[in-house]
Symmetry: C2
Subunit: 378 residues, 2 copies
């Protein structure tokens, strides 16, 4: 017998209502029945994205939605500013360069958040910059950037702010309209508690002006087509029907909780995970900017990080994430995002403790779990 527990930052576990919705007989997408479903999804997404603007659904992974942002906002030869403090910041740069867009890079040390003032300085130094690309939750390092402060800086310039909230949306607060964030991109498999396969993007009026003047090649990701279709309560190409039906189930659950409670739940789980890491003597990777969606901690000296993750998964069925790219083997990442509860966190920390003991690491057994419980009891 093996029972599996998923605490990875995407995919995240699915509520049973969401899973079962996908097993229902499929329906056709050009029907009044599906139009109602799409309408409900559109309204729910506006709520989740905290925006009055349309949120477009793309059948793609989150990267497809990131590319939709780049390909629709900028033309070859344009200049963008990219905040690059991890693997997903780098993705913005890669996409820009694939499109012949000059990407000025703010290289942020991995594990740190960007200084919003630095964005202001760079925008002042180069008024050619049309778009600032940044990341809400940089999953690779466990950092949340301060989007509110970044938006306040960008708002007073002619540049448009685009935030990759693939990781973070529905877990960490992002007041799109209130803070003045122009473009928000997300994906289905994180805070929204769905399988991967849907990308999302919303745009402000300021951002739409760029879309209208953009000269780049695009078809499948052409947001003008998406808008034309959505205005008729439709999608330009065949919708990912099952995932959109599942989306409405997950939005229903989220609405019952309310955004403030959802964010609070994530914050508490993050506090508990962080307290546990400290109690176990594991240094947080991003102490000054730790994400409320995922906790990254350094693997202690003498412990094989890859083996640690592998043993938790293969022996105990508890899947957390290791490090990506330059952090491979050096960090562990425990996601507390989406359909995850206090009990999951405690269970995960207990498993981590067991495997750390088995791997010869010295600490007070139970200290991590106790620290987490203390946070939850507060």
């Amino acid at each position: 017998m093996k029972k599996n527990y998923l605490l990875t930052p995407g995919p995240t576990p699915l509520p049973p209502e969401v899973s079962l919705a996908m097993a229902k007989p499929i329906i056709h997408h050009r029907t009044p029945q599906f139009q109602e479903i799409l309408k409900e999804a559109s309204q729910g997404l506006k709520w989740a994205f905290q925006t009055a603007n349309d949120v477009f659904i793309i059948s793609s992974s989150g990267t497809g939605a990131m590319e939709a942002a780049v390909a629709n906002l900028l033309s070859c030869g344009d200049t963008a500013l990219v905040v690059q403090g991890g693997k997903f910041g780098e993705r913005w740069t890669e996409i820009c360069r694939a499109y012949g867009i000059g990407a000025e890079v703010i290289d942020v040390e991995w594990g740190k958040a960007v200084d919003p003032e630095e964005i202001g300085r760079r925008l002042k130094a180069n008024p050619q910059i049309k778009v600032v690309f940044t990341t809400l939750c940089e999953t690779s390092t466990g950092v949340d950037n301060d989007i509110r402060s970044i938006a306040a800086v960008v708002k007073d310039t002619s540049a448009v702010l685009a935030v990759d909230a693939i990781s973070g949306l529905g877990a960490v607060d992002l007041k799109t309209d209130e803070w003045g964030v122009d473009v928000v991109v997300s994906g289905s498999q994180k805070g929204l508690m769905l399988p991967p396969g849907l990308g999302f993007i919303c745009l402000s009026g300021r951002a739409w002006k760029l879309v209208e003047s953009c000269k780049g090649s695009r078809y499948y990701l052409d947001l003008r087509k998406a808008k034309k279709a959505l205005d008729k309560n439709d999608t330009p190409f065949t919708s990912s029907i099952t995932l959109i039906i599942a989306l409405n189930e997950s939005l229903k659950i989220m609405k019952q909780d309310g955004l403030e409670n959802i964010f609070k739940r994530h914050r508490t789980m993050a506090d508990a995970a962080r307290a546990a890491m400290k109690a176990l003597g594991l240094e947080l990777f991003a102490p000054g900017a730790a994400s409320d969606g995922v906790t990254a901690a350094k693997v202690p000296a003498g412990v094989d990080g890859e083996k640690l993750v592998k043993t938790m998964r293969d022996t105990y069925g508890v899947t957390i994430a290791g490090g990506q790219a330059e952090l491979k083997g050096k960090v562990i990442r425990i996601a507390h995002m989406g359909f995850i509860t206090e009990s999951d966190i405690v269970m995960c920390i207990a498993c981590l403790e067991k495997v750390l003991v088995q791997m010869g690491y010295k600490f007070n057994l139970g200290a991590g779990v106790k620290a987490a419980e203390e946070v939850f009891l507060k």
Copy 2:
């Protein structure tokens, strides 16, 4: 009580094994467990696509895979030849033009198949043509093009042949390697009996040479990235995990039947549907090139085509397709593609008969069902 029956050319109904596979708890995609799943999918797709080349899985609708073909084979300023005999032929032209690619068009009358010799003449007249884009089953008109003969013509030129088999693959024979088809594009929601959300593409060695020299902008749809990932049994971006798991279920069912039996089943159902239309006095829309995947018939004079489709769906739960674009209201399209049986066809024709009677059309009640039964009893 309402029971629904889906006889549309995408989405097509799902086998229960496929539906239930999607309801299983989600797993992480960067694990040995998912690598095994991906390996099985890759092998199964090669079988279904009748090719020894890699079949890449893209998280997108079929159109995303069509765009992947255009964006990876051709650069701005290149010339392509497009066979345009319906809505989906037109899509190739639209994508080419969105990428600044000169699209020479063979305008085929809707309801007819392209004459392969015409492709030969056009290629001879313009040796600049790098790629010929055509369609296996032009769903909008119910036509199957003769890909085997087209491939024989294109093979002797320097051009590469790309076939949109989104509709048709897994229903109509397409011997990719044997016939010398360079690029085959498909989607999940038709013959492969899955929900929409996956695009597929395979390429010959000849086609890969174009990919390597292509200068156009691409990132999410960059097939070089897809190849690099697949060589390590991975996908470049987060996989549509649930759909790929479901794909293996549907491939398992298909393998149990065998391709020859599958094609024969579709042919018989098409014969029955066509015989039924004739028996009811409904003229086939594509008599000389009728598809084995979908039967299009003209709506008889005096009958409101849109109301006919709507009544079948809303009163009896039987969903067939009406006409698209210029055929709106003028044709009905009954799909016999994927998880559809003889019994479904008989049931659908009986429903069509009932509604035709209600709409005042004169014919011998039962004649359509009888004609279909006669075909099935042969």
